[in-house]
């Protein structure tokens, strides 16, 4: 890979030498330090990428083992554990539950996030009200998840809702709301507010203005929000763990239960499927609305 800044630095060194300001030894020394510096940074990046992805690759490799307890190196390669996962009733049910909760949480959560973002960025309300909405929505980002989960769990018990699908869904909605809100709000803030005012001055009502002026500009953020929220909900563990009770099982709960019992090729294949699925969703979302 090219390294423009260091090349530039090296060029400057050569100029310096031509005008007699730097010794040959100095130039060589700076070249070496620049090379070492570039090497250090590149090495760190490569090691970080390996650190993040090698475990995933390792589990992918082990999931191909013909034995239920893989031994290294594998004696053969098979996809039978993937077939086993996809035909296992408990896993398929967990997958379907996670998918359904994720679908509702991501679509409804994005709708609520849109309303919250609109209130925070454009609402005709006093500044402190909009700031308060932003703070209340942001709570799950900064309050430890275990505290949020225990709070909702105890509150559900007190109100008499108990545990099950309803509380889990509410918990997921609450969990994805800040992500949707702030993703959409950052896009909302780039939309020229005068355009909507002009549309209204020309006689369009609020809904028409929103549909014809604001919405077309928000689409990428909304779509990214749905996908990110889906990935978040699909992978959510702790809140579900506190609220599910005995009747509901999701994919992360199912995998957590299996991890506690002991690692098998079945679990490796299930893990790879979950990683591929959420990774694909997040990659599409990031290409619509890149991070930063």
């Amino acid at each position: 890979m090219g390294d423009s800044s260091e090349r530039a630095a090296a060029d400057r060194d050569i100029d310096g030498e031509r005008s007699g300001r730097a010794s040959v030894a100095g130039r060589v020394r700076r070249r070496i330090t620049a090379g070492v510096r570039g090497g250090f940074f590149r090495t760190t990046v490569v090691l970080t990428a390996l650190f993040l992805y090698l475990p995933v690759v390792a589990v992918g490799y082990l999931s191909l083992s013909p034995a239920s307890q893989p031994s290294i190196p594998l004696d053969g390669v098979t996809l039978r554990w993937y077939a086993a996962v996809l035909t296992d009733a408990r896993f398929v049910r967990g997958l379907a539950t996670s998918g359904a909760i994720g679908a509702v949480a991501s679509v409804v959560g994005t709708g609520l996030g849109l309303l919250a973002a609109r209130t925070i960025v454009r609402g005709r309300l006093p500044g402190w009200v909009r700031a308060a909405v932003a703070v209340v929505v942001a709570i799950p980002l900064f309050v430890p998840t275990v505290v949020v989960a225990l709070g909702i769990g105890i509150a559900a018990g007190r109100v008499g809702v108990g545990f099950g699908l309803g509380p889990v869904l509410a918990g997921h909605l609450y969990w994805v709301l800040p992500f949707s809100t702030f993703l959409i709000a950052s896009r909302y803030a780039t939309i020229d507010g005068r355009m909507t005012e002009v549309a209204r001055d020309l006689g369009a009502d609020g809904i028409t203005t929103f549909r014809t002026v604001t919405l077309p500009q928000l689409w990428p953020a909304l779509f990214a929000s749905v996908l990110f929220a889906f990935a978040l909900s699909f992978n959510e563990f702790l809140i579900t763990f506190f609220l599910a009770g005995s009747g509901v099982t999701t994919m992360p709960l199912e995998i957590y239960g299996k991890v506690r019992i002991g690692a098998t090729s079945f679990l490796n294949a299930a893990s790879v499927l979950v990683l591929l699925f959420s990774g694909a969703v997040a990659t599409v979302a990031a290409s619509l609305e890149p991070p930063t």
Binding site: V146, Y174, N235, S271, A285, P291
Partner: protein
């Protein structure tokens, strides 16, 4: 963020009042959800923690026996892991933002932050296979003859500590860094991108070495991102449940595990609530101190 200043001033009238009402009604929906599931439960936690009917005994129990040690250990592990994440994030984001050719920048940034959206239970579990006695690392080490016996890497405490702060064992530490590094990378990158590279070049031309450039230019210009990253991951690490459960040794019990045990197994809700409130107060105080700086607040707005 653009606010009221964007709007063409209009004369106040019935239409205006109606629109304010509509705006308030639309905003009420998500706010009600957030209040019902955030503010109310936290208030209920505080009520629960002093029940029945009003007693400080739950807090007295928190101060007792092992719980302060568990709390300190959680906070200490949070601090150590956050520091490690920052130490990795500085060179990586610096390279990404200022050295990496522009066309690779976005794909690399996306791949380094993608694990944010992956399942952390699964990511933690991947390390079980790598670090187990018959796992990949040990097979490689014993196979190549580097070590005679498999190393005890999985769920082993480090045994190294400074006062009450105990370093996490190898598997717990690696698992934590794996899960939380992407958050720090993302926040640091945002800051690093705004660092004016010409300052670095100027310092180099004036003869500053790598360490001087880092301490005198990179750190002052990007500390807000570092603090924001710290605030975002610190409480999550200290309050993590799945990672210590899967990769920690039994002697490395952390606060979320204690709270969960009280909730699930002991069914002592008031005590679990008291533990949570104490933990929350510690985190919120730390957060308040960090967020005092306006630079940091600006950085956090992105989240």
């Amino acid at each position: 963020m653009s606010g009221p200043t964007d709007r063409i001033p209009v004369l106040p009238g019935d239409d205006d009042r109606r629109r304010t009402l509509v705006d308030a009604a639309l905003g009420a929906l998500p706010t009600a959800l957030a209040v019902a599931l955030g503010a109310v439960p936290i208030a209920l936690l505080i009520v629960e923690s002093v029940s029945p009917p009003v007693t400080p005994s739950n807090y007295a129990a928190v101060a007792d026996s092992v719980y302060p040690a568990v709390m300190l250990r959680s906070l200490g592990i949070g601090a150590v892991i956050t520091a490690v994440c920052l130490a990795i994030a500085y060179p990586v984001t610096y390279w990404l933002a200022h050295v990496c050719p522009a066309r690779y920048r976005l794909p690399l940034l996306i791949s380094l932050t993608l694990p944010l959206w992956l399942n952390y239970v699964v990511l933690n579990y991947t390390w079980v296979w790598i670090l187990a006695a018959d796992g990949i690392v040990n097979t490689a080490l014993t196979g190549s003859g580097l070590v005679g016996q498999p190393l005890e890497l999985l769920r082993t405490p480090s045994g190294i500590g400074v006062g009450p702060i105990e370093l996490p064992g190898p598997s717990l530490g690696i698992g934590f860094v794996h899960i939380y590094l992407p958050y720090v990378l993302l926040t640091m990158y945002v800051s690093m991108e705004r660092l004016d590279y010409r300052q670095v070049e100027a310092a180099r031309d004036l003869g500053a070495g790598g360490v001087r450039v880092f301490l005198d230019i990179v750190v002052p210009e990007t500390y807000a991102g570092a603090v924001a990253g710290t605030l975002i991951v610190y409480a999550r690490i200290a309050g993590a449940f799945a990672t210590p459960q899967i990769l920690g040794s039994p002697s490395e019990q952390m606060i979320a595990q204690t709270i969960t045990t009280q909730f699930y197994d002991v069914l002592d809700y008031p005590f679990a609530a008291a533990l949570s409130v104490v933990f929350l107060v510690v985190v919120v105080v730390g957060f308040g101190v960090g967020a005092l700086s306006t630079d940091v607040r600006a950085e956090l707005k992105r989240w």
